[in-house]
């Protein structure tokens, strides 16, 4: 043994002469300048990165999944075995020689092609006898050895200097230096083998050698890639001279403000003024509750003279059911609550879907302000059965919940919300790994399913090892297996439906639920990993279990020792040092208030996409954890900050800032909010008071194609970009503007109907108040008006008595339409309606209910003149309301 050791070292010394704890100050450029060098480069450390630098494994070149010219490299590198094999083995099938020729190294295609000594579609990539050439030649001459990932030192980290770049003037540039650190303590300057990228090359350009050049003022990051190291370096150039010590005194009452201003100070950006009360109220109403303030609410807030009225308003809003509904909608976006993916998960009884349970379950917990980690644990480690419940008990309870007149609610009776695991697009281990990382961690690991993640450290091996958590967990079972199978069989025997399958069974179950029977339900349950089973089971839905799985960026878990492999995942998410769980949520909440996340896009917490303000993100995430994942703490922390309450009106220095929160950014109201705002702004005051949260679009449980095609809400919500909850991306929801949205607001029959409605319409109510009732309508009445009216009313009554909901509704619609055309003004005064008595008052009301502020004198004059000049005053008022609904100020949250 003793004799082996020196020999072993000699071998290592021969093949890897430069490693073993030493530091290589000189780069490969110098070391391989001369063809005489004896140094043997390493496949992982030198050859692969250099090929990446030369562009060989680009997507359009050999990195393509089909390869190029019969030669394929792994996209973005890191599949060493494949890359080595493709270089050193001949392609028998296509009769192509290997890319390296060990006998005659100079004749290797690997050097002949990129130097254009042989035709190369990819053009010339390097010169003969330069360092790149010498490096490849020395590797081939030494036998073109692959890396031994087990034995060789591991990559530890990449150290890049300088750690931050602040440019002051034109024509400045800074050279980056990157040192790779390996687990044996060796260090090497690898700058010439790194890949560089600027996140905004308008602000900082970076060339292929790592030279950063100053651009426009602002801030961004340049990113350095080597092996699986990804290091972002902040680069900024102050926007004004007022930076650093010359920065003016700025109000920063909260920690959030101090952290924001700390960054703004470096950039020379001065925040905007504090927003006016009306501006603040509208903004905070929309952001916290997804609704507009009512006219009365605006007036009372403006009249309140106390100092703490904003803080009180924030607290008040956090207690409303609208807050719970709106943030539940956002959590449903994240978790993918979509009917289309829940087909047949529960029997279809009336209008109740699994998506309804999903929404209500979360809604109740948001309302109760259950800590975020507990709420999510109820989804992550969900089982359909409550603890200790037998399959039979479970079915009894669920059948009871699903009876039309049930007093038992899913949200209250069920401990967990299992449908997340029943989603049709969440069944394979890969889908689950990707979806899980998206929902709970805000990262996109799908790239690593097929190749090294281009913007993060994840390799295909990481992906695979993480996916192992999902190979055997949480089966979704249409019918139970194991012990419960007996209970299932007994149940279907009792019900006499043993022979029924598929659609026939599905049609039968709702009937039986209605008839008070207990029917079988599908269930989600943890499946104990069975790693000894090496054969693929008969059931295709149960893949072979894995013995070990690895948390992303953390330790390996032995799955054979646990009964539910989701538990270690949840424990890991809850750890204080978990880099994703709390951050992903606070960042998404922040994005809800500021239009952009601290990390943006908010669902891309990758290394190459660093936060615009690291200290701020850390503060919020740590605070959230320290406050026991209290969601309302987070909302208060953000909404009470001066940063949130700044005006949208920019100043010269912050006019172009969109990522450092120096002013509020005008953004379009989200789809549901816009839809509800239209309803509310066109409703009479008494009608507004009657709007129930459940009838608002912010409380619609499901998304998906089926609900998109449903009724009038569907079209509007679709064109305004409600989340489709389909593809593991926050971009499933969009707040872009579009032509169809504008056409909808300007001229759609649905919007016109909202404005012109008699029942509950604001226009109708003010017309009555002003005595401008619809004389025209009465004049146009047909002679048999009374008779028709009576018969229409009789029909409604008849159907209602017969208990036929559908027909009653249809008859009511007909009656309403008729009344609208010819009816009386319908001006039975509703209680609580304040009568308006002047055009002035009407205009004020119109402003308060749409843009939630008083009109200016100019606006008052213009609108008054318009109404006065209208032949029919009601038409004039209608046009004013229409115009206000079509201002940018209405559809935009500012």
């Amino acid at each position: 043994m003793k004799r082996c050791l020196p020999l072993f070292m000699v071998v290592i010394g021969l093949t890897l002469p430069v490693f073993g704890g030493e530091t290589l100050e000189k780069t490969v450029v110098e070391r391989f300048k001369s063809a005489d060098t004896k140094e043997v480069p390493n496949f992982r450390r030198h050859v692969v990165p250099l090929m990446g630098r030369l562009g060989c494994n680009g997507r359009a070149c050999h990195g393509s999944f089909q390869g190029q010219g019969g030669f394929r490299r792994s996209l973005f590198g890191y599949d060493f075995d494949m890359d080595h094999g493709n270089l050193t083995k001949a392609d028998e099938e296509n009769k192509k020689d290997a890319r390296v020729d060990l006998d005659f190294p100079e004749d290797s295609l690997m050097v002949l092609k990129p130097t254009l000594d042989m035709p190369h579609k990819g053009g010339k990539r390097m010169d003969v006898n330069r360092w790149e050439y010498n490096l490849f030649m020395n590797w081939i001459k030494a036998g073109a050895k692959n890396v031994d990932l087990e034995k060789e030192a591991k990559f530890e980290k990449l150290e890049v200097t300088p750690k931050e770049i602040v440019f002051q003037g034109n024509d400045e540039s800074v050279q980056l230096k990157a040192i790779a650190v390996w687990s044996d303590g060796s260090r090497e300057d690898v700058t010439p083998m790194c890949r560089f990228k600027s996140n905004d090359d308008q602000i900082a350009n970076i060339d292929e050698n790592g030279l950063v050049e100053v651009g426009k003022s602002g801030d961004t990051h340049v990113v350095v890639f080597y092996d699986n190291g990804v290091v972002p370096i902040p680069v900024m150039r102050p926007v004004s001279k007022q930076n650093g010590d010359d920065y003016p005194e700025v109000e920063a009452p909260t920690i959030v403000d101090q952290l924001v201003v700390q960054k703004l100070r470096k950039l020379g950006i001065v925040p905007s003024e504090k927003s006016a009360d009306a501006e603040f109220l509208r903004r905070v109403r929309i952001d916290i509750t997804g609704t507009l303030p009512t006219a009365a609410e605006v007036e009372s807030f403006l009249n309140d003279t106390s100092d703490d009225k904003r803080a009180r308003k924030i607290n008040e809003l956090l207690e409303t059911p609208e807050y719970a509904a709106w943030w539940t909608t956002k959590l449903c976006d994240l978790t993918g609550n979509n009917d289309d993916n829940l087909n047949n998960v529960v029997p279809r009884v009336g209008n109740r879907y699994a998506s309804t349970d999903w929404f209500e379950w979360i809604n109740k917990r948001v309302q109760d302000n259950m800590p975020y980690d507990e709420l999510m644990a109820g989804i992550v480690v969900a089982n359909s059965r409550n603890p200790g419940e037998s399959y039979r008990d479970y079915c009894e309870k669920m059948s009871e919940i699903y009876r039309p007149d049930s007093k038992v609610s899913f949200a209250e009776n069920r401990q967990d919300m299992p449908y997340y695991w029943a989603r049709r697009n969440f069944r394979t281990p890969e889908e689950r790994a990707i979806g899980f990382a998206y929902t709970f961690m805000g990262i996109r690991i799908q790239c690593a399913q097929c190749h090294k993640h281009p913007f993060d450290q994840w390799t295909q091996v990481d992906f695979k090892q993480f996916t192992n958590f999902f190979t055997s967990v949480a089966g979704y079972r249409a019918r139970p297996t194991g012990e419960a199978a007996k209970e299932y069989n007994a149940l279907v025997e009792e019900l006499g439906i043993k022979k029924l399958r598929g659609n026939e069974l599905r049609r039968k179950l709702p009937e039986m639920i209605r008839a008070g029977k207990t029917v079988p339900f599908s269930e989600v349950m943890a499946i104990k990993p069975r790693p000894n089973n090496n054969r693929r089971p008969n059931n295709r839905n149960q893949p072979v279990s894995s013995r070990r799985a690895k948390l992303l960026g953390a330790e390996v878990i032995d799955l054979t020792k646990i009964d539910d492999s989701r538990k270690p995942l949840m424990d890991w998410l809850r750890r204080k040092e978990n880099p994703y769980f709390a951050k992903a949520f606070v960042n998404r909440v922040w994005a809800g208030y500021f239009n952009v996340g601290i990390v943006d896009p908010p669902d891309d917490l990758s290394l190459a996409n660093p936060p615009s303000n690291q200290a701020l993100l850390d503060h919020l995430a740590m605070g959230f954890i320290d406050n026991n994942f209290d969601m309302k703490w987070l909302h208060r922390e953000i909404a009470n900050s001066r940063t949130y309450q700044t005006s949208w009106v920019p100043n010269e220095a912050n006019r172009l800032d969109e990522r450092n929160f120096s002013h509020s950014i005008p953004r379009r109201m989200p789809a549901e909010v816009a839809y509800d705002a239209l309803q509310q702004a066109t409703s009479s005051n008494s009608e507004v008071d009657k709007i129930r949260v459940a009838s608002r679009a912010i409380a619609l449980p499901s998304a998906g194609r089926r609900s998109q095609n449903r009724g009038t809400t569907g079209y509007a919500l679709t064109i305004f970009g409600r989340s489709i909850r389909e593809s593991n991306c926050d971009c499933d929801r969009t707040s872009e503007a579009s032509l169809l949205q504008t056409i909808y607001l300007q001229n759609d029959k649905d919007v016109q109907a909202l404005i012109d409605r008699d029942r509950g319409g604001w226009l109708n109510s003010v017309a009555n108040d002003l005595g401008l009732a619809k004389k025209k309508a009465i004049a146009n009445r047909p002679p048999n008006y009374e008779k028709i009216l009576a018969s229409l009313k009789a029909r409604v009554k008849k159907f209602r008595k017969a208990g036929n909901e559908g027909q009653t509704k249809a008859a009511q619609v007909k009656l309403d339409q008729y009344l609208k055309r010819f009816g009386d003004d319908g001006s039975k005064k509703k209680k609580g309606d304040v009568k308006v008595d002047s055009i002035d008052a009407v205009i004020k009301q119109a402003y308060l209910r749409t843009v939630n502020r008083y009109p200016s004198n100019v606006e008052l004059d213009r609108t008054t003149a318009y109404i006065e000049a209208s032949e029919d005053k009601v038409d004039g008022i209608r046009d004013v309301l229409w115009a206000l609904l079509n201002t940018k100020e209405f559809i935009v949250n500012r």
Partner: protein, 432 residues
């Protein structure tokens, strides 16, 4: 029964005459060489009409009959001759038989998604649906690539469509008319039509008011993409609502009686009439829908009494109408359902069930040379006779017909590069 039929309803000797029919003798490289030499019609179509047949039309009872198949497969209908020698289609499509020279039947198109929704997503986007990404439908891609006049909506769906803008974003969504036109009745398109007796003058007047009131962000619009965009869309919407051309485009009563007479009086006929009118006005992409093809039960009665006659009447008038207006050369027509139906009859229910492995699609217009059958199915129409075509191939061909390079890459919001059609190859015979 006529003699000497091959399994695809084409007489043997006609194979010779038609040359490339059903074979792969014209290869893509050869085709590209021919295209380069100006030997094929390569003038791209400028607009398109996509007819969706949701439910999945039975290929064996419409465009891919197997009269000699056993009774478990054959079905009740007989083939009839068309105006192209050697091509035969169902007896319930007599009008289309007389317009066979204007369109191409693709037989033996094949895929594997037997669920309605997934199949619909597939045939409306030309790329197999993925759980992690929503692909844009044809209409969204075409309008993104080719644009549209300022005062017309670029992409109109009558009454709605399964083609979604996907990762291209809501900008490229279809304008859903929400209803379908009916003869002798005024047809109002949501958002375009002036409702409640409004006049253009009134619209202009209120627009003046809007311009004055919409001043809060004055001077700051250029700093913010959203505000700037809203202004542009507002102008465009106004131009559209007040445009005579836009309203006239949707008003089928403005069509000459002589032309209108060609079209039947059913909803689908009138939708076809509207589609020709929209295309003539400059609308880039129109989708139509004719549903009811999910004939698990009572297949032959439903097809012969309702579906086939409707399709026959509407589509034949559409093709004739387009040609008469000189629009067929500049309008790509694409007709497809999400799958075919089981060749083996479901006796218990008198129907056929979902079957994606063998189906038909129809193409016409633009550079497509009508009067051909391309591809073939096997003996019992259970599979393509040879390799068959995928929906991706048809998609690539359709885009080719519109002058769009189907290998062009878009970037999703996550920065991922996605080809318009990744796995498709243009079918050269279409354009030869």
């Amino acid at each position: 029964m006529t003699l000497h039929k091959t399994c695809d309803g084409v007489k043997r000797r006609d194979m010779m005459k038609l040359g490339v029919l059903g074979s792969m003798s014209l290869t893509l490289p050869k085709f590209l060489r021919m295209a380069h030499a100006g030997e094929v019609n390569d003038a791209p179509a400028k607009s398109a009409i996509f007819i969706n047949l949701p439910g999945g039309p039975s290929h064996m009872d419409s465009f891919d009959l197997k009269p000699n198949a056993g009774e478990d497969y054959r079905g009740e209908f007989n083939p009839i001759k068309t105006n192209v020698d050697g091509i035969e289609i169902s007896e319930h499509l007599p009008k289309l038989a007389q317009t066979m020279d204007k369109f191409v039947i693709l037989r033996g198109v094949t895929h594997t998604l037997a669920a309605h929704r997934l199949g619909q997503e597939y045939v409306n986007a030309g790329t197999k649906p993925l759980p992690s990404l929503e692909y844009p439908g044809y209409g969204s891609v075409v309008t993104k690539e080719l644009g549209s006049p300022k005062d017309l909506p670029p992409f109109v769906a009558i009454p709605n469509t399964n083609q979604r803008p996907g990762f291209l974003g809501v900008k490229y969504a279809a304008l859903n008319t929400g209803g379908s036109p009916q003869p002798g009745r005024p047809f109002s398109v949501r958002g375009i039509a002036l409702n409640n007796g409004q006049t253009v003058e009134q619209v202009q007047k209120r627009q003046g008011l809007l311009k004055d009131l919409d001043a809060t962000f004055s001077g700051f619009e250029k700093n913010n993409q959203l505000l700037d965009g809203l202004d542009q869309f507002s102008q465009q919407a106004y131009a559209m609502i007040t445009s005579k051309r836009a309203r006239a485009a949707f008003d089928i009563s403005k069509e000459s009686p002589a032309f209108t007479k060609k079209f039947g009086t059913q909803v689908f006929d009138q939708s076809c009439l509207l589609a020709t009118r929209l295309v003539e006005s400059g609308v880039r992409f129109v989708t139509l829908t004719l549903g009811g093809w999910d004939t698990h039960r009572d297949n032959w009665n439903r097809l012969s009494e309702r579906n086939l006659p409707q399709l026959d009447s509407g589509l034949s008038s559409l093709l004739v109408g387009l040609e008469e207006k000189g629009l067929l050369e500049s309008t790509a027509v694409f007709v497809t359902g999400e799958f075919g139906r089981t060749p083996k009859i479901n006796r218990e229910r008198g129907g056929r069930d979902h079957y994606p492995r063998c189906m038909f699609m129809l193409l016409a217009g633009g550079g497509v040379r009508g009067g051909q059958v391309i591809g073939e199915s096997n003996e019992n129409a259970t599979l393509p006779a040879s390799k068959g075509y995928s929906p991706d191939d048809v998609a690539a061909s359709f885009y080719h017909n519109m002058g769009i390079d189907h290998t062009k890459e878009y970037h999703t919001a996550t920065g991922r590069p996605i080809m318009i059609v990744r796995d498709g190859t243009v079918i050269p015979e279409l354009f030869s």
